[in-house]
Symmetry: C2
Subunit: 352 residues, 2 copies
């Protein structure tokens, strides 16, 4: 296959981890006889510095005309503690999600047998966990009207959802449940929020089309609890944008390291693949960041982006091998010998 992939390294550790995913993808492409053309483009704080816009039109054009987007990380502390900043790196991410129509964020959470004891949760609680969140990504309070009133003394953010937005996300959830454990949990706060009641009634109306799927409705506060108590009781969870942001980060704890969890954002022609961790500025440039979440995002890209399952499996296999042989960055080394970001990437590429 000839593949054109937009490469958005972004901020902080983004460039370093992306580099490793490129190495590994190239090795896979070589082995399976594909040709990848990488097209780098600016985003995030890096793009603000260069052209004043965290998601420039040029970047959008590159993404929109590619077969997939591989993304590093976005965000810089310089903007976080300046509530008056006019342009923020994160706006680039939001604009990109919206303009590319990426309305569903797919975040699997699973455990690695060789890492299970690194989780803050007890082994018996997490063994066998294999759940996936489908987070709505282009609606809700992230994209509603926001602003100030009364000389800046009052701030507001509007959360809005339409039945269509819920339906297209829920449809993906039901379909995914059919290919997995046939359980779907709709996470909302229907005892307080009108948008949640709209979610609930929309999903309820879809149940009859998927008679084999067992559907449950749980409040977001209860899920925040049960997710760390009994994660292996869940299969597919669907939820709105903000709840998904919070719960998927929480869920990443199960696997023992955020540095491992990949994600896919899907919805229209082009899909985007990115690690769920952030830009981790403290580690930037030190060759210590764990590249595995980005490498596993590349695996998702081959699988769900291009339908190339063997290629994805080859990446997963070499990642598992690196974990069991201890070719890992310091966050996973437990005081044993550790390797640099690029050494891990080299090892993975060589062992594909």
């Amino acid at each position: 296959m000839e593949l054109k992939i937009a490469l958005l390294a972004g901020d902080g550790i983004g460039p370093e981890v992306i580099e490793q995913a490129v190495k590994v993808s190239d090795a896979v492409a070589k082995k399976f006889n594909h040709k990848i053309t990488w097209v780098p483009a600016l985003t995030g704080a890096a793009a603000i510095d260069a052209v004043g816009d965290p998601y420039p039109d040029e970047t959008h054009d590159i993404c929109a005309s590619s077969d997939a987007v591989l993304f590093g990380a976005i965000g810089h502390p310089r903007f976080d503690n300046d509530p008056s900043a006019k342009v923020r790196p994160e706006q680039g991410l939001l604009k990109m999600r919206k303009k590319l129509g990426l309305f569903a964020n797919v975040r699997p959470t699973f455990t690695f047998p060789s890492l299970i004891d690194k989780s803050p949760l007890k082994r018996e609680r997490i063994e066998g966990t294999d759940l996936v969140f489908l987070r709505e990504l282009t609606g809700g309070i992230y994209f509603g009207k926001k602003g100030r009133e009364q000389n800046g003394d009052v701030a507001y953010d509007h959360c809005v959802y339409s039945k269509d937005e819920v339906r297209r996300l829920a449809k993906k959830g039901f379909e995914m449940a059919m290919t997995r454990g046939k359980k779907l949990c709709c996470v909302d706060k229907a005892n307080v929020l009108e948008t949640s009641r709209l979610w609930r009634e929309t999903v309820q109306a879809m149940e009859k089309d998927y008679p084999e799927v067992e559907v449950s409705y749980e409040f977001v506060d209860a899920v925040a609890m049960r997710l760390v108590q009994w994660p292996n009781s869940y299969d597919v969870l669907i939820t709105e944008n903000l709840f998904g942001d919070i719960l998927t980060d929480e869920a990443s704890v199960i696997s023992g390291s955020m540095g491992l969890m990949p994600s896919a954002s899907v919805g229209s022609k082009v899909s985007l693949f990115e690690p769920i961790h952030g830009s981790y500025p403290q580690a930037a440039g030190k060759n210590i960041a764990n590249p595995l979440a980005t490498v596993l995002s590349a695996a998702m890209m081959f699988e769900t982006g291009f339908g190339l399952n063997d290629e994805g499996a080859a990446i997963r296999e070499v990642v598992n091998k690196s974990l069991s042989e201890g070719i890992v960055t310091e966050d996973l080394a437990d005081g044993e010998k550790s390797y640099g970001t690029s050494e891990v990437g080299d090892w993975l590429a060589q062992n594909i």
Copy 2:
């Protein structure tokens, strides 16, 4: 002291657990020579059934003229899966919080040495945890305008905060930090939400008045993660209504059981004390619910409501004793002998 306490049992297991807290409070009052007059009042689904309003005016008058309110639980599944229900038990709770001016919900999270191994989290992660959330309780998306448009196909909820609302909550947070570990974490989503940026700038402006307090600002998704990774790195956390709802429930997992965590809602003359667990309808009427969270809420009532610290300490002591002697409900019994809700209450009252 002569104390008049409004008694709002509410729904589900509410009445059963409240009964035990009354027994224990009466025993403490007897020992320390106080006279408690309990004034029962209707709330929740029970009040809807009786008078069509989950927080009737009569109940409000009783609460407003009492020295404190002791509250059980609210909520009934009959309403949860009916998105079209016009009156909901939860509205009673929200109306009560608003009308009584209870703008701050204080939720301590700590571990019990005798229960530490019941937590889904590993001992070394949670040992020494002693944190407290201050959740804003009468603003934000819970109380903003909400409704439908376009024939019901679009729903909205407005999140609104004023600097004054943030300031009075943050003030309590700074003051509480001064009496504890002198660390304050402001939890927000300032990289996306305007209300969060207002929170952050308001708290930043207050820092200079509390030079001894070390203040940090963290995104809600990061806290959802760190809270289960390194809970003992936190001291006081302040946050808005919805984030607080999610994070405090998540935090309750640390102690090993939701059945243990008390809370206080404060803000004006009368304070309210309630367990953080819900109405747990599956267990209602079975004499199996754990009454300790409500009993410990009564301890908070003596301490922060009436300034009677010895009385509160006496309750905590007898609770600890019951835990170490195994006089516990089945949720804490680990397959060993367990006791009924009322037997635990009797034992506590007798051993005060």
